[in-house]
């Protein structure tokens, strides 16, 4: 294999050293403990300086060493701790305290297949989010917690729907038709992270990441450049998020109890006019049209607040319980979690119950085994929201305020098309139950010192049961006597991996090499049934329905891979990493079954050079660069490369229909990424600065290329397009006042830019209804395609547009262009946390700047009288008399024609948000001990406390069309993110 030769050479070296090192033998024994709590530290490397003689401490922290070196100096090294040197002199019994490092450069990061690695010797761009940063934040899923905390990672919640979808973009969006979401690896296992909901209830999606309990997470590392990600090959182009869960240690049992309770509420109510204003505006519409005013006395109009009856203060509740500890043979971490988040709209919630058992055991010497097992049960009550005319929130915008909720006979008042908001909330039941099992069993055997084989088998199974029931009082159900749908989705994945690794350290040469294989198979089965015509609204199960229908589908894919990596450094000064992965996939065409994904990373810790000493406050300088190739295969449907015929019945006759043409050349999308980084450690590494430049060039983008329809087909999915994402990231972490200060101040700051550009397309195309997004060469993703409105004629009140094609007149078909995009100029987050004595305070701000947000609600509410539905408050700013300067034209039908898409609805979506603020107090250790605890902390916190923005909609972060990956930055009747206040305790026993 590739690395055999250097490895053999190094083995020879090792043997040679062994031959030389002989002489008078002396035995040294000792113990190494944690300087903080005096607990034994196992696995600490104990080396005799200047030799290769050494050992490691056992699980009791003790070590024993024989040496013939006179005046030996022992070097104690342990990841995450300060290295200590100690002269043995004549002692034979040594006890050593190691202090946890305050040095940010010595932090440990997790790498793909590589385990923990010192940040100093890493050649790649990796951002880390640690457990303490994300603890006690009431997010239903862990991916939300990445928001603002890792540079270059743009996270946006599609809505405030409990357990709803989250969009995560690492270094931009790199695909058009494939997913641009990262690959999630939990404890080494690629996890199923696609939306498994099969219901069509609007633009929103559900988030399978919510199956995981965030409190179980030890750290999340975001792998960004090719040097870090290429080992995940054909699925790594969007970056990789490694999630590591907590495990037991050789320590006495620690019991952890965390609980919080709180409430959440809407930050801003739908901005629609009240009853009197509605009638006043409608009268003006009639007047402008030369018609008699429909309302005689607007001032006395009925005023129904449609929003309040469907909104509420939602409850928030979380209990975490864990116990971890262990002995020499067995270590354990067992946890339980119960989480409830009620939506700010009635009848919506998300609740989760999980248990996790992480075990490690050492049954015989050299053999380590273990399991990581998660069982998660969660339940969602969902609502039709986002782009859905039957949605409750949508109704609150449309329903006229001058009419009551109910008719005189007690039935719901209804206008055409849109559902009565209360009926939408009360007469429809939408449920989703998920049972998930995610388990791994592994065994690791050390053949000779540092040569290990690790094998694991994992199973990731989700069972999703969904139901929708619209009773006879709803628009959907009224004509048919109630309609119900049931959907059962089973997704099962097995993964088998084997990794052979070898670690070698001698005379400043540090080598870590591995080769491995992984196989995965995934299968999804869906059964659907619908029923309509129920005997009464009390019957909800389909068995009672008059008309029944059902269907089932099944699909699968498999991936086989081989991979290898070499990490080498000399004196932790010159760093080198090389990855190589070969991926085969059942999805690829027969002509392209296997792909190769290599990467190289180089690093140079300049500050280790003699000529770079004495730099004053600059304690560390590191340069690194990487280049590599990764792929994205998510855009290929399971059997996309084959020519297929599917079912196509004609009434009661079974029939078939052609569904796709074959493309045997079909393959993954390829991303070539260059990353150049520089890292600085300042003030004895109390401050750490990371700057990265990257250029991601994606080619072979999967596009459904239009072919002549005379073939009988619309398009053939081909590897055709090209796209580029370029950007700069800056991350700063600082222990501002230093370890000796009584007041501790940790500062985290990150900012990133990303410039996206579509380099090659088969043909420009428009997306989403009313064609509001446009994709064209030279353009960027999520570009809004509207009629650029220049203003309103101050004399006539007529709407005025740019004459895009310069033909002297405005027409809807030709005077439309791209007027902005949802991509920000820059984005990031700022964290400040303070600790003083028992008190702690942390504030986390998250921001994005320069992105456009389409307030699409205004398109329907600023209708100028062309609809009979309610107006947005912005309608009040309409032109009324000569001289008025406004963007809202006179209320006449031609100013509000249904075929114009005025650009005034596209607003500045920049915002800065106080995402989290927490104030806590920990009882003094002595007092805690008295009541039987090791630590006890109480805290209060708030989320989304305030948002600074010019955006006029409910929430600048919304994407109401998440189920369409080509749309972003559009508010479309989505539930906004709530403001949350809560109080909690953390207890340790």
């Amino acid at each position: 294999m590739l690395f055999m030769k250097p490895k053999l050479t190094l083995l020879c070296f090792l043997l040679l050293f062994g031959q030389l090192a002989r002489g008078q033998m002396k035995t040294i024994t000792g113990i190494v403990v944690d300087g903080g709590d005096n607990s034994a530290l196992s696995g600490v490397s104990v080396l005799i300086k200047g030799t290769t003689q050494g050992t490691k401490t056992g699980t009791d922290g003790k070590f024993q060493l024989q040496t013939n070196v006179a005046n030996a100096v022992l070097v104690f090294k342990f990841l995450g701790y300060e290295t200590k040197e100690l002269s043995v002199d004549n002692q034979s019994q040594i006890s050593v305290q190691l202090h946890a490092t305050e040095n940010l450069m010595e932090e440990v990061v997790i790498t793909g297949y590589g385990g923990a690695q010192s940040r100093r010797t890493v050649t790649s761009a990796i951002s880390q989010v640690k457990a303490e940063e994300i603890a006690n934040i009431p997010a239903s899923s862990s991916d939300q917690l990445l928001q603002g905390r890792a540079s270059g990672v743009q996270v946006s919640s599609n809505s405030g729907t409990p357990g709803g979808g989250v969009s995560v973009r690492i270094r931009g969006t790199s695909s058009i038709n494939a997913s641009s979401e990262p690959l999630y690896i939990i404890d080494g296992i690629p996890m199923q992270s696609n939306n498994l909901s099969g219901l069509s209830i609007g633009g929103g999606i559900t988030n399978p990441m919510a199956d995981i309990n965030p409190a179980d997470i030890e750290s999340m590392e975001v792998l960004k450049d090719a040097s870090a990600t290429a080992i995940y090959g054909a699925r790594a182009a969007n970056g990789v998020v490694l999630i590591t869960t907590k495990r037991g240690a050789n320590k006495k049992a620690v019991i952890n109890i965390g609980a919080y309770m709180g409430g959440q509420e809407i930050t801003k109510k739908p901005g629609v006019v009240d009853g009197p204003s509605f009638e006043m505006l409608m009268n003006e519409v009639a007047e402008n049209a030369g018609n008699p005013a429909p309302y005689s006395n607007p001032a006395s109009a009925l005023n129904t607040d449609w929003a309040s009856p469907i909104l509420r203060t939602g409850q928030l509740r979380n209990v975490d319980l864990s116990i971890s500890g262990g002995g020499e043979k067995v270590r354990y971490m067992i946890s339980g979690n119960n989480f409830l988040q009620e939506g700010i709209m009635k009848n919506s919630d998300f609740s989760r119950t999980t248990t996790r058992v992480n075990l490690d055991f050492t049954p015989i010497d050299k053999l380590n085994m273990g399991t990581s097992i998660l069982y998660s049960h969660n339940s969602r009550k969902r609502l039709r929201n986002d782009d859905n005319i039957s949605g409750g929130l949508e109704g609150t915008f449309f329903y006229p305020p001058n009419h009551g909720i109910y008719n005189e006979d007690g039935s719901y008042f209804k206008i055409p098309t849109f559902e009565n908001p209360l009926a939408a909330i009360n007469e429809t039941t939408i449920g989703m139950l998920t049972n998930r099992f995610l388990g791994t069993v592994f065994a690791e055997y050390e053949f000779i010192p540092n040569l290990k084989l690790k094998s694991n088998f994992s199973f990731d199974y989700s069972n999703v049961a969904e139901s929708v029931y619209d009773n006879s009082k709803t628009n959907n159900g009224s004509a048919v006597g109630g309609v119900a749908q049931r959907l059962g989705t089973n997704n099962s994945n097995w993964i088998q991996e084997n990794v052979l690794s070898y670690r070698f350290t001698a005379a400043g040469h540090n080598l870590n090499a591995l080769i491995g294989t992984t196989f995965q198979q995934s299968r999804t089965d869906v059964a659907t049934s619908t029923g309509q015509g129920f005997p009464s609204d009390a019957f909800q199960e389909i068995v009672a329905a008059a008309v029944l229908r059902s269907s089932s589908t099944s699909t699968s894919y498999g991936i086989a891979s081989f991979f290898s990596r070499v990490d080498y450094n000399y004196q932790s000064k010159y760093l080198f990493t090389m990855n190589l992965r070969r991926d085969g996939s059942s999805r690829f065409g027969s002509e392209n079954k296997w792909g190769t994904f290599p990467s190289v990373g180089l690093g140079w810790v300049l500050s280790e050079e003699s000529f770079m000493q004495n730099l004053g406050f600059l304690s560390t300088v590191k340069l690194r660069g990487s280049y590599g190739v990764t792929g994205n295969q998510s855009g290929i449907n399971d059997f996309q490369s084959l020519g297929l015929w599917g079912g196509g019945a004609y009434a009661d006759l079974a029939g078939i229909a052609p569904t796709q043409l074959a493309n045997p050349n079909l393959k993954w999308e390829t991303t070539n990424q260059l990353d150049l980084g520089i890292e600085f450690g300042l003030f004895k590494d109390r401050m750490h600065i990371d700057i990265d430049y990257y250029n991601k060039h994606t080619k072979d983008l999967l596009l459904a290329v239009s072919i002549p329809r005379t073939t009988g087909f619309d398009q053939l999915v081909q590897n055709f397009g090209e796209m580029r994402n370029r950007g700069v990231e800056l991350g700063i972490n600082a222990d501002v006042l230093g370890p000796s200060s009584a007041l501790k101040w940790d500062l985290g700051f990150n900012i990133a830019t990303n410039k996206n550009r579509i380099l090659k397309l088969a043909a420009p195309f428009n997306v989403y209804n009313r064609d509001i997004y446009r994709y064209e060469e030279g353009g960027e993703m999520f570009s809004f395609y509207l009629h650029p409105q220049t203003g309103v004629n101050p004399q006539t009140g007529a709407i005025e547009f740019e004459d895009v094609n310069g033909d002297g007149e405005f027409d809807v078909n030709n005077d439309r262009r791209i007027v902005g995009s949802a991509n920000p100029d820059f984005f990031g987050g700022i964290t400040n946390s303070f600790k003083w004595k028992g008190f702690d305070l942390s504030a986390f701000l998250q921001y994005t700047y320069g992105n456009d947000q389409l307030n699409w609600n205004r398109f329907f509410q600023e209708h100028g009288g062309t609809r009979s539905t309610n107006f947005s408050t912005s309608q009040l700013d309409r032109w009324q008399q000569p001289g008025d300067i406004t963007m809202i034209p006179r209320m006449t039908a031609d100013n509000y024609a249904s075929d114009i898409r005025p650009s005034r609805f596209l607003e500045d979506g920049s915002y800065m948000r106080l995402k989290n603020i927490t104030v806590g107090y920990s009882l003094p250790a002595s007092f805690a001990k008295k009541i039987g605890m090791s630590t006890a902390r109480v805290y209060v916190s708030g989320q989304n406390v305030f948002t600074i923005t010019n955006y006029t909609g409910l929430d600048p972060e919304l994407t109401g069309t998440a189920s369409n990956t080509l749309t972003q930055g559009i508010e479309f009747y989505s539930m906004p993110q709530p403001r949350t206040f809560m109080a909690g305790v953390n207890l340790n026993f």
Binding site: Y445, S556, W645, L653
Partner: protein, 458 residues
């Protein structure tokens, strides 16, 4: 060591296994059409193509009726608004969907024409019927493409359709449009083949000999071969399987009545969308389309006209919607060819050729009396022709005939003058006869270098 061996062996077996996955929801063509049963399924699939929402299941009917003076778009969608106001863009999605669907239909027909001769366990009758059905459906799809995008002899258009190669099915080629008359000749040839191969049959939900003859009768009105039109209308009327339904409303209330020569079947699993688009929300539809009030006035001008009862009012917007297709669950069948059309075709051909005015009047009055309106007594050929054309509009209202008939008869400019629309302050008028042809979709212009756009959109 044991671990190592286990690992090595599991690697070797797993690699092969995981990469070989077979589709289950769908099958590759070779497996999908392999014997008599699967070939029959392919034929059912042929009708399924016609049934689709982009074709007879909804869109094709609406395209015609919204483009005439009958229907209007009252929603916010661009595509039907463009048709309603004669501002069709080359990017109009629904026009594109119809275009694609028609060629998909032709692809399936070509597949059957190619493969059916080689399926060994078919009886000869089965085989010839199957081939006849494929010829019929291919002819229908080409004919519909022709009157939508190609042209009408002596009225508008010089180019027909671009033919899909039967022998190189699915291969990416760039065919050019055939001359208009050559295209009509191709449709005629397919229909004559179908007539020859198909048996007489009372199964109205599938193509039969009479269905092929009826479509030929319609085709000859377009090509103004009136003698052939009369001859084929006669053949269908005399076939014996078809008769005017005594109750006009019963044609739509029931399914597959004797009225139908060719009617597409729909059910709960296979729904038609016409009702959904016209019916207002409280009635369970989406209410994006409505009738032009001016047309409903014409339809209800004669209080005795039973056909005028098939409209309902939507009070909140003050518009009417058609109720021919009104079944809850959108399970209405769609009528492609009714026997009434044969009477009116024959009447029109007789009147325009002035060969048998009395016969023409008799056919016209047959249709009128069934609708409950008074008999006419016209003797002037021109006036009689006008009366027949007016009757066609009322008889087949909202069945997808209106626009094509108005263009074919050159009545479109006269009929569509200052028609008020709910969604616009101004009325609409049809002025440019080149706009009678829909634009070749932009995607086709981009994909096929030999494609030529219609003059109105160049």
């Amino acid at each position: 060591m044991v671990l190592l061996i286990c690992t090595a062996s599991s690697v070797l077996t797993a690699c092969d296994g995981v990469l070989n996955q077979d589709p289950r929801n769908e099958l590759s063509e070779g497996i999908a059409i392999s014997d008599a049963r699967s070939a029959q399924a392919a034929v059912a699939g042929l009708y399924n193509q016609l049934q689709g929402g982009n074709y007879y299941g909804r869109n094709f009917l609406i395209m015609s009726d919204v483009s005439s003076d009958q229907g209007q778009s009252i929603g916010t969608w661009d595509f039907y608004r463009e048709m309603d106001t004669y501002q069709n863009s080359t990017g109009n999605t629904e026009i594109g969907y119809f275009y694609s669907r028609a060629y998909r239909t032709i692809y399936v027909a070509n597949t059957i024409l190619n493969l059916a001769p080689g399926v060994s366990d078919l009886t000869e009758t089965q085989r010839s019927t199957m081939l006849g059905e494929a010829y019929f459906v291919r002819a229908l799809a080409y004919f519909d493409l022709l009157r939508t995008f190609g042209g009408y002899p002596d009225v508008v258009g010089t180019l027909g359709f671009a033919p899909a190669s039967q022998d190189e099915r699915g291969q990416v080629t760039n065919p050019a449009r055939l001359p208009l008359m050559e295209s009509y000749a191709m449709v005629e040839a397919d229909l004559l083949q179908a007539e020859n191969l198909l048996p007489r049959s009372a199964d109205r939900s599938r193509a039969s000999k009479a269905a092929a003859q009826a479509l030929l009768s319609r085709l000859y009105l377009y090509t103004r071969d009136f003698a052939s039109c009369i001859r084929y209308a006669d053949l269908v009327i005399d076939d014996g399987n078809y008769a005017l339904n005594p109750s006009y409303t019963d044609i739509f209330a029931t399914k597959l009545s004797t009225e139908s020569v060719f009617e597409l079947s729909f059910n709960n699993a296979d729904q038609s969308g016409v009702r959904n688009w016209y019916f207002p929300t409280p009635q369970g539809g989406r209410g994006d389309l409505a009738c032009h009030n001016s047309f409903v006035e014409k339809a209800q001008a004669d209080a005795n006209d039973i056909r005028g009862t098939l409209y309902a009012v939507e009070p909140s917007q003050g518009v009417y919607y058609p109720t021919k297709y009104n079944k809850t669950g959108n399970i209405d069948n769609i009528h492609v060819i009714r026997i009434a059309e044969m009477y009116l075709n024959r009447a029109e051909a007789k009147a325009r050729s002035e060969s048998d005015l009395a016969g023409a009047l008799a056919d016209l009055n047959l249709i009128r009396s069934r609708a409950g309106v008074s008999q006419l007594a016209l003797t002037d050929a021109a006036a009689l022709t006008e009366a027949i054309w007016a009757e066609q509009q009322l008889e087949f209202a909202f069945e997808g005939h209106s626009f094509f008939d108005l263009v074919r008869t050159e009545k479109i400019v006269e009929r569509v003058q200052n028609v008020p629309r709910l969604n616009s302050p101004t009325t609409i008028s049809f002025t440019d006869i080149e706009r009678a042809l829909f634009p070749i979709p932009l995607f086709e212009m981009n994909a096929n270098s030999n494609m030529v756009q219609n003059p109105a959109y160049q």
